[in-house]
């Protein structure tokens, strides 16, 4: 129910955006301008759907710490570093990524 309430407001914001982006058609036919704008608006639709489907929180265990999350972030950082430092960094990132995912799965199932 809470999600539905929030979805309504996100929907209203999306409507504001649709009105403004539609108005843009009066002023320009430039494809790039429209594509950039409409992609962002289309992106909002799944957000509304997720909000609509959100259930009230049930009883759940909260994580106190998550080493897997930190390793995964480090993996992504190394993957990005590959762009500047070379393939070795990207490969380190890939290996760390595997470790991170395994750690996260272990944490969640513990």
């Amino acid at each position: 129910m809470r999600g539905r309430d929030a979805a309504l407001w996100i929907g209203l914001w999306t409507v504001f955006n649709i009105v403004l982006s539609t108005l843009l058609f009066v002023f320009t036919t430039d494809l790039m301008t429209h594509v950039v704008y409409w992609l962002a608006i289309v992106w909002l639709l799944p957000l509304i759907l997720i909000a609509l489907l959100a259930r009230d929180p049930g009883r759940r265990a909260l994580p106190q710490a998550s080493g897997g999350s930190v390793v995964l972030a480090l993996a992504v950082a190394f993957l990005a570093l590959g762009a500047g430092l070379g393939l070795w960094a990207a490969l380190c990132g890939a290996a760390l990524g595997v470790v991170g995912v395994v750690l996260l799965v272990t944490e969640r199932s513990a």
């Binding site: 914001w13 962002a40 992106w43 009883r59 897997g68 999350s69 500047g84």
Partner: protein
């Protein structure tokens, strides 16, 4: 709050690295962002030292290019945006009565991406050709491999992409918290104003920031031999992608501080915020309009619909005006208590006004053609970002410091900080309007005595060092207050929202006692029997 008690908390260094408590992650984000603020601030002082007099004093031209690139990048990607999100990470769950943020692991990943991104961007100074030097906008083709060779630019792009990804994840967690973790009775029209400001902020982050990732990803590929932005149209395509992020980010760095400042003004006026529903609607309209103005950064390219973007940019004055009406309406008739947070909040609205009004000026194409790429623009956006956002940030810091730490910051030192900050800000940036109008271009390391810009530049440099002094006073305040702690108690200001209904600092699951009944956006005022607006005659 349907949650099970967590396992034993992670403390010490381990807690600082892997802890998932939203309050701890927010504190780390805040400290990290302030670390980058100090670094970016030192860079700014070096730049001002260089510009104080004609000639090259401190650095080379290429070095100066690196300095202004890293200053702008740091302040936008690594300081103001993350610090705004850190406030939300800490207070959104508290204000909506949740025990924890939604997706605590994702939130933690977001923080570390931000931190790693910042370190990688700054590590570009170690590269052979130095750090990135294509401005915080990394305009294409200035930022392509032939024009900016070396790994410094690549590291910068990687760092920006990581930091932005981190911010997107943190915003998504806050949005999910507001959507699905609100306490019973907390309908969307009972959500406090600050949390509403975070709703629109997070909506803008998740919908506009991916555009920057696409722009930067394309740039990275382009630098490594893939023709992503080929031909003359490439520069325009890059600008569309970049500015579709680049203008909304201005409001991401503004809305949270509007929300915080309105709450501060309401609390220190002893009354409810004026025009709650109007504020909500104006925030939504404001955020939507700010998604539709990116083209005004491209007026002079001749490649965008100037009429449309001028119209939407000017229309921003309407919702902005409504926020001012809300602030003034709250102040009028209130029992004003002029403590440091209140003074910073009032200063926020006053200082931002200069940035906002000069925004109307540059939102008009003929006038923008005249001042484009001049110091007028530098003055304009510093009045919105430093004079605007940072005043609001300090209002929030002084207001919520007792909640986060359990002790007060000194009021006297706070007022000294404010006075120096007001003087420094205006002495630094007001002369830049005149310099720009007189034709001084931005991003230049030097000028000649014949330009007759020396006096105004000296003034601006003096102002920058006064800002530095004011920040030193703030640091002193933190130190003094830490060493001689004055306990604050759970609700030192007579707060109105749920974060003041718990201890200072709040416990792991935020609330131990049952939440008060939630019948409005100010449940603690309801508890004290202050009548709701609809109950007034």
């Amino acid at each position: 709050m349907s949650v099970a008690a967590p396992l034993a908390p992670a403390r010490g260094l381990a807690g600082a690295v892997v802890g998932t408590d939203h309050k701890s992650v927010a504190a780390r984000t805040f400290i990290t962002a302030f670390g980058f603020f100090f670094a970016g601030g030192v860079v700014a002082l070096i730049m001002r030292w260089e510009l104080a007099t004609p000639g090259m004093q401190v650095t080379s031209r290429a070095g100066y290019d690196q300095l202004f690139t890293m200053h702008g990048s740091t302040m936008i990607y690594l300081f103001v945006t993350p610090v705004a999100l850190s406030l939300g990470t800490y207070f959104v769950p508290l204000q909506v009565g949740a025990a924890e943020i939604a997706g605590p692991r994702v939130n933690l990943i977001g923080y570390w991406l931000l931190a790693f991104g910042g370190v990688i961007a700054w590590s570009s100074f170690l590269a052979r050709n130095g750090a990135a030097q294509a401005a915080w906008t990394a305009e294409f083709p200035m930022s392509d491999a032939p024009n900016t060779p070396g790994t410094g630019m690549d590291l910068w792009i990687a760092g920006v992409m990581l930091a932005t990804s981190g911010v997107i994840l943190m915003a998504a967690c806050q949005l999910a918290t507001i959507v699905a973790r609100r306490a019973p009775g907390m309908t969307m029209l009972r959500v406090p104003v600050f949390t509403w400001s975070m709703v629109v902020t997070c909506l803008m982050v998740v919908s506009a920031f991916p555009s920057l990732l696409i722009a930067m990803g394309g740039l990275l590929l382009d630098r490594h031999g893939v023709d992503v932005y080929p031909g003359a149209g490439g520069a325009t395509a890059y600008q569309h992608l970049f500015w579709f992020y680049g203008h909304p980010v201005v409001y991401v760095m503004f809305f949270p501080f509007v929300g915080a400042s309105l709450e501060v003004i309401a609390t220190f006026s002893g009354r409810r915020v004026f025009g709650y529903k109007g504020i909500v609607l104006s925030l939504l309209a404001f955020a939507a309009l700010s998604m539709a103005v990116w083209g005004h950064h491209m007026f002079t390219t001749g490649q965008v619909a100037n009429h449309y973007f001028s119209l939407t940019s000017t229309m921003l004055a309407v919702p902005a005006g409504m926020e001012y009406v809300a602030a003034i309406g709250t102040l009028i008739g209130g029992a004003l208590v002029l403590r440091t947070p209140m003074l910073f909040a009032i200063a926020f609205f006053l200082q931002f006004l200069l940035g906002g009004l000069s925004g109307i000026y540059v939102g008009s194409p003929p006038l923008d053609y005249h001042v484009h790429d001049s110091y007028f623009v530098v003055a304009h956006f510093h009045y919105t970002l430093l004079a605007g956002s940072v005043f609001g940030l300090f209002a929030a810091v002084y207001y919520w410091w007792p909640k986060v730490t359990g002790f007060h910051l000194r009021d006297g030192l706070g007022k000294l900080h404010l006075a120096l900050f007001v003087i420094g800000t205006n002495v630094t940036f007001l002369p830049m309007f005149f310099l720009g109008y007189d034709g001084m271009p931005r991003r230049v390391a030097n000028y000649t005595p014949a330009d007759r810009w020396t006096t105004l530049n000296v003034l601006s440099t003096v102002g920058a060092f006064v800002i530095g002094l004011s920040i030193a006073v703030f640091c002193l305040n933190v130190l003094v207050s830490w060493l001689r702690a004055e306990p604050a108690g759970p609700d030192p200001w007579g707060g109105q929202t749920l974060e003041w209904a718990t201890s200072s600092p709040p416990p792991r699951l935020n609330f131990v006692a049952p939440l008060p009944p939630i019948r409005s956006s100010e449940p603690l005022l309801d508890l004290r029997g202050v009548p709701a607006p609809e109950a007034l005659p």
